[in-house]
């Protein structure tokens, strides 16, 4: 609940900034709300942002639980998405129910591998995961660009994107959510994302592994004394984190676009940080936080068209202030505990 206060303070400051650009903050706010929920079409677009944000929020949250900070969700989802597209293009003969499963499994594997690298380096060499994952983001972007432009390009288009995957890989015909929101990229992967969020809640709070994960994050010294292998937790949590980010391949490539488009992600991996913080790393909370951030992102994208001075980059200002609003709250916590200590 306290996190909501941080959210509102952050949002308030971000809106106040629009004042300097000569806009009316109330007007901006009403555009944000209207363009996120105004119609079924708008809501569909909001949901299509929500799905990848659930995956990325979960990815960051799991790493936080283990005491790590995965800023590499962006690279992990990029590698997973290009993998799903590559599988769909290179093996067009695979029959329907197996085809998306094959592509998704391959995507999760590569996403997990992209998470394994920083986890392993952290465990073996103590390299800081933030710097390694940022570097891996750049490497992933370069690799995916090369694959999309040189190896499996779309020859019928000038846009930087891969060819279309074979139709066997798409589950459009069986997609109930896509039918509710016609003409939008919203699709059944929204349901999958919610299912995985619930699954992660069970894993983190109800299994031995989840306990070990949280113990390592809370106090790695004590956890190691209790016989929990630090290296195992570090590596496993980053692999899971990478696989979760890889889930974006399902919503983007297999669920809607049917191809990998260079720059399709408006930095979902970074917005995922705000999502995880807002949700206090609770997987169920991530669903709601992702919906909120998805709505704000959709709203900010429309500000580009509705106003003359505010561009889509405003979304980043909102995200940054929300993260700062939530992070700054540690102060009140600190004040309270120091007051208790005094008494």
């Amino acid at each position: 609940m306290k996190r909501l206060i941080g959210l509102f303070v952050g949002l308030f400051i971000a809106l106040l900034i629009t004042f300097f650009a000569g806009e009316n903050p109330f007007h901006i706010f009403s555009i944000l709300i209207k363009s996120a929920f105004g119609s079924m079409y708008d809501l569909g677009l909001t949901l299509s942002y929500t799905t990848p944000l659930i995956f990325c929020g979960l990815s960051v949250a799991v790493s936080f639980h283990a005491g790590l900070f995965n800023v590499g969700a962006e690279g992990q989802l990029t590698m997973a998405a290009i993998t799903a597209a590559a599988v769909g293009i290179l093996f067009p003969q695979v029959p329907f129910p197996f085809a998306p499963i094959l592509a998704f499994t391959a995507a999760l594997f590569v996403g997990g591998f992209w998470g394994f690298i920083p986890g392993w380096l952290r465990a073996v060499r103590g390299s800081h995961e933030v710097i390694i994952t940022i570097m891996l983001n750049f490497i992933a972007a370069g690799t995916a660009n090369w694959l999309a432009l040189k190896v499996i390009p779309n020859l019928n288009s000038q846009n930087p994107e891969t060819a279309m995957v074979s139709n066997n890989y798409l589950f459009k015909d069986y997609d109930l959510i896509a039918r509710i929101f016609p003409d939008t990229p919203a699709n059944a992967s929204f349901g999958v994302a919610i299912f995985i969020a619930v699954l992660m809640w069970i894993i983190i709070w109800k299994t031995t592994f989840g306990f070990e994960l949280r113990a390592m994050g809370a106090n790695s010294e004590a956890a190691q004394r209790a016989g929990i292998s630090k290296n195992k937790i570090l590596v496993l949590s980053m692999i899971i984190s990478g696989m979760l980010a890889g889930g974006v391949a399902l919503s983007e490539v297999l669920g809607s676009a049917g191809q990998y488009r260079v720059g399709f992600s408006p930095d979902y991996g970074f917005i995922g940080i705000a999502v995880a913080l807002l949700a206090n790393n609770n997987p169920i909370g991530v669903i709601f936080a992702a919906f909120l951030m998805g709505a704000l992102h959709k709203g900010a994208a429309d500000l580009d068209m509705e106003t003359t001075t505010i561009t889509r980059d405003f979304s980043r200002i909102i995200q940054a202030f929300i993260i700062l609003g939530v992070a700054g709250q540690a102060y009140w916590e600190h004040l309270r505990t120091s007051r208790i200590r005094k008494n």
């Binding site: 900034i17 300097f20 650009a21 900070f69 800023v71 380096l121 060499r125 103590g126 390299s127 800081h128 933030v130 710097i131 390694i132 940022i134 570097m135 891996l136 750049f138 490497i139 370069g142 690799t143 660009n145 090369w146 432009l149 040189k150 970074f270 940080i273 913080l277 001075t309 505010i310 561009t311 980059d313 405003f314 979304s315 980043r316 200002i317 909102i318 995200q319 940054a320 202030f321 993260i323 700062l324 992070a327 700054g328 540690a330 102060y331 600190h334």
Partner: protein
């Protein structure tokens, strides 16, 4: 003779490309030596690059851009210091938030000033630097390494990061030392950004730092938080960058290496260096810890 020319050119390119890294990693050094983790270097650099380019554009003078960038860096770093020192916000999370903030605020201001979110107007040759930032960077390395060892305030900085309690006991405010260190780190990192927009390029272009703030952190770790070794680490990363630029479009046995692979070379070198094939690196003892 050709080979000699080639290596001279590569060496000069390395020195040029090292300049932004050197400033940023020196900024990171004084912040981290005082005990405050500084993931926000990237945003300080971006801010410096933008403010420097804007000020040089309006004043038509490179040195005014240079000083404006310094002030801009001090300002954003002071806000960062407020969050991590006064509000005790998580240093890494706050740092990432600042990186997002710079990515959002710069297009916002650029839209107001130039009605575009792209690059700032290109600067004429007179209002750019030809070699000066390189000289300033080298002087700063020497000055800082002397300052840390031989002055009272240099020792305060080291103690704030290694043993803040001892510093407190001797009657010096750890908070004030950290405030000064973090704020100054913003100014230095902003010079790193300004040397990108005023020296290596001729304008600010979006996200022109390209992860250099994080590479600066990597060279800091690689250089064990000491000025001269950190400077050498910066040269290593800059060499990778120089080779990267040199290799673009080069043909080997008639086939061209894909440009995307060449461009990721510096990032791979950073990971290899950071994964530490050369000994382990010990951070300041109180780094990231609260008082």
């Amino acid at each position: 003779m050709d080979l000699f020319l080639f290596f001279t050119a590569l060496f000069l390119a390395t020195l040029r490309l090292a300049t932004p890294l050197v400033f940023a990693s020196l900024g990171g050094m004084i912040s981290e030596r005082s005990g405050i983790i500084n993931i926000a270097l990237e945003s300080f650099m971006l801010m410096g690059a933008f403010v420097g380019a804007v000020a040089a554009h309006y004043s038509e003078h490179a040195w005014i851009g240079w000083m404006a960038a310094f002030l801009g860096g001090l300002a954003i770093a002071a806000v960062y210091a407020f969050f991590v020192i006064e509000l005790r916000a998580d240093q890494i999370i706050t740092g990432m938030a600042f990186n997002l903030l710079a990515m959002g605020l710069i297009p916002f201001f650029s839209k107001i000033l130039f009605n575009s979110t792209g690059s700032t107007p290109s600067l004429p040759l007179e209002s750019r630097f030809s070699f000066e930032p390189l000289l300033v960077a080298a002087l700063l390395v020497l000055a800082l390494s002397w300052w840390l060892k031989n002055t009272r305030s240099g020792l305060w900085l080291l103690f704030a990061g290694e043993n803040p309690q001892a510093l407190l006991a001797s009657g010096v405010s750890v908070k004030k030392v950290r405030w000064a260190a973090v704020t100054l780190s913003g100014g230095f990192a902003a010079w790193g950004g300004a040397s990108l927009s005023l020296y290596l390029a001729s304008s600010y272009s979006p996200l022109m730092t390209g992860g250099r703030g994080f590479m600066a952190l990597a060279s800091l770790i690689f250089g064990k938080w000491r000025p001269v070794p950190t400077f050498l680490a910066c040269l290593l990363f800059a060499l990778a960058d120089a080779i990267q630029i040199r290799l673009q479009g080069v043909q080997i046995n008639g086939t061209e290496i894909p440009v995307q692979f060449i461009q990721i070379l510096p990032y791979i070198v950073t990971i290899i260096a950071l994964a530490g094939f050369i000994g382990t690196s010990r951070p300041p003892k109180a780094l990231g810890k609260e008082l």
